[in-house]
């Protein structure tokens, strides 16, 4: 027990988790925005937008996140010179956020699409009969209900995003939790199991409330029909 306390005083473990939480929250925000845009594209009347939306989703669903992260650094930053800050640590953080957001947006789009399927036909028909345009019926009628129907898949995507934020290590974010865990194991090989359990329990503590909240919300918000 004493050694565990010593580990906590020697390393900034909550700080590392905080990096992951920040990565997750920013990526969740951006991927939600991008995901909504993508899902609107996928149901829009303009065929090129539908094709783009589908291609985007297919592409990112079938591409390992590790490769995307490596590309963010070696491709987007090194070659295209897209840079967020001259300070390296800030820059890599935002590159990782962009990579995570691009990847997660595909899954957000699919979750929302499954939510759209829960909206009954009559709603769309009624909207059209009232003379609403596509944008109006999507934003006023369909999407609000779709959100309520897709709470559970969105929650799962969010949990997956939190766990995926450890892959930011591949985008040179050296302060996040999996990098810290490797570093700690390097210098405290004897307490490897204790170190792993600290981090694993940290994630359990983060994930379980999100899961419980998702379940609660999806039952509460689901449109009873």
């Amino acid at each position: 027990m004493g050694s565990v306390l010593q580990l906590f005083s020697e390393y900034n473990i909550p700080g590392a988790f905080w990096v992951n939480i920040q990565l997750t929250l920013w990526s969740a925000l951006f991927s939600l925005i991008l995901g909504v845009i993508l899902v609107v594209m996928r149901i829009s009347p303009i065929s090129s937008m539908r094709v783009f939306g589908r291609t985007y989703v297919e592409f990112f669903q079938n591409m390992p996140l590790t490769i995307i992260m490596v590309f963010m650094v070696l491709g987007v930053f090194a070659q295209l010179k897209l840079s967020f800050s001259t300070v390296f640590s800030v820059n890599f953080f935002w590159l990782a956020v962009v990579g995570l957001s691009l990847y997660t947006a595909a899954f957000v789009c699919e979750s929302l699409r499954s939510g759209i399927n829960t909206v009954p036909l009559g709603q769309a028909e009624a909207a059209r009969a009232l003379g609403l345009s596509f944008i109006q019926s999507a934003s006023e009628i369909i999407l609000p209900q779709a959100f309520r129907g897709s709470v559970a898949p969105l929650g799962n995507t969010f949990i997956a995003l939190l766990k995926n934020s450890t892959v930011a290590a591949a985008a040179s974010v050296a302060t996040e939790s999996s990098s810290l865990m490797s570093e700690m194991i390097e210098y405290h090989a004897n307490s490897i199991v204790a170190i792993f359990l600290i981090f694993a329990l940290g994630y359990v503590i983060l994930v379980l409330p999100i899961g419980a909240l998702t379940t609660f919300l999806s039952n509460k918000l689901a449109v009873r029909r």
Binding site: A78, Q79, K81, F88, S172
Partner: protein, 279 residues
């Protein structure tokens, strides 16, 4: 539901057979390469140009040349060598459980490691150095790195050394391998790469003249041949072979071959070293 039951049973039987077949396949491929009589197993790096690199089914590099020479002296021809990959973090474990007979893989002799394994050698004394773009003349030593951007490999302490001892204002980037660092150096997002000079020389040699070494090593890393702990007889034989290699010029030839075009000279104060570790 009768049909489903029969189907299910047949399915389970098929599944079992399939699993057995796969288990055989995987156990063969995973653990098939057992110890063979009359062969020597040597751990090297597979991914370090200039030191140990797998290329068209053969292995090239300074470490490979040293290992081949030593193996020859121990009575193994080139065909008797089984090359195994020895990633940095697995080297001690590989020696301890007998996966390899010796390791020649940029393996620095340290007191920490000597608790777990023994060493012969050293066969070269490398030192931490910087690699920069050939046309960049601003950086001439670790002190010039203030305000510059430096790349090193994840989990290595070399970048931290620079930051603590020489240039506190340096910005660090960590990449999984030196090749990524070199790519970043090419594209200009970092200004220097740091690690042991011989590794950098290998990379610079592969860069077709676009990268160069600064040439002022500021630490000493004694590269040794890792062997099983306490095997003094083997250490003696290896040391004799290494001394022989240095004396008859093959050592210098191997070094020149693998760092061609970089004008790399290992720190002359320490090289060629006297191999007398582990006896």
């Amino acid at each position: 539901m009768q049909g489903t039951g029969i189907h299910a049973r047949r399915f389970f039987r098929n599944l079992t057979a399939f699993l057995c077949a796969l288990a055989c396949l995987f156990s063969l491929t995973a653990c098939g390469s057992d110890k063979e009589a009359g062969k020597i197993r040597i751990g090297i790096k597979f991914d370090q140009p200039g030191l140990g690199f797998k290329k068209s089914g053969t292995y090239v590099g300074f470490d490979v040349d040293v290992a081949t020479y030593v193996a020859n002296k121990l009575g193994y021809s080139e065909d008797d060598i089984i090359w195994k990959e020895a990633p940095s973090k697995q080297r001690e474990a590989m020696l301890q459980n007998g996966d390899v007979d010796m390791i020649v893989a940029t393996y620095s002799i340290t007191d920490e490691r000597k608790k777990a394994v023994s060493f012969a050698g050293p066969y070269i004394v490398a030192g931490q150095d910087l690699m920069v773009r050939t046309d960049d003349h601003q950086i001439n030593g670790p002190e010039d790195l203030n305000g510059k951007r430096l790349c090193s490999v994840t989990g290595s302490t070399s970048a931290v050394t620079v930051k603590q001892k020489f240039a506190s204002e340096v910005q660090l980037m960590e990449q999984p391998g030196y090749a990524e660092c070199a790519t970043a150096l090419f594209s200009g997002i970092v200004d220097a790469v740091t690690t042991d000079d011989i590794i950098l020389a290998g990379l610079a040699s592969a860069s077709r003249g676009r990268l160069r070494l600064v040439g002022k090593p500021f630490t000493q890393e004694r590269y040794g041949v890792g062997i099983k702990k306490g095997d003094k007889a083997l250490a003696k034989k290896i040391n004799a072979a290494l001394a022989d290699m240095e004396a008859n010029g093959s050592w210098q030839r191997a070094l020149d071959n693998n760092t061609r075009g970089t004008h790399y000279r290992p720190d002359p104060r320490y090289n060629p070293p006297k191999p007398q570790e582990g006896e």
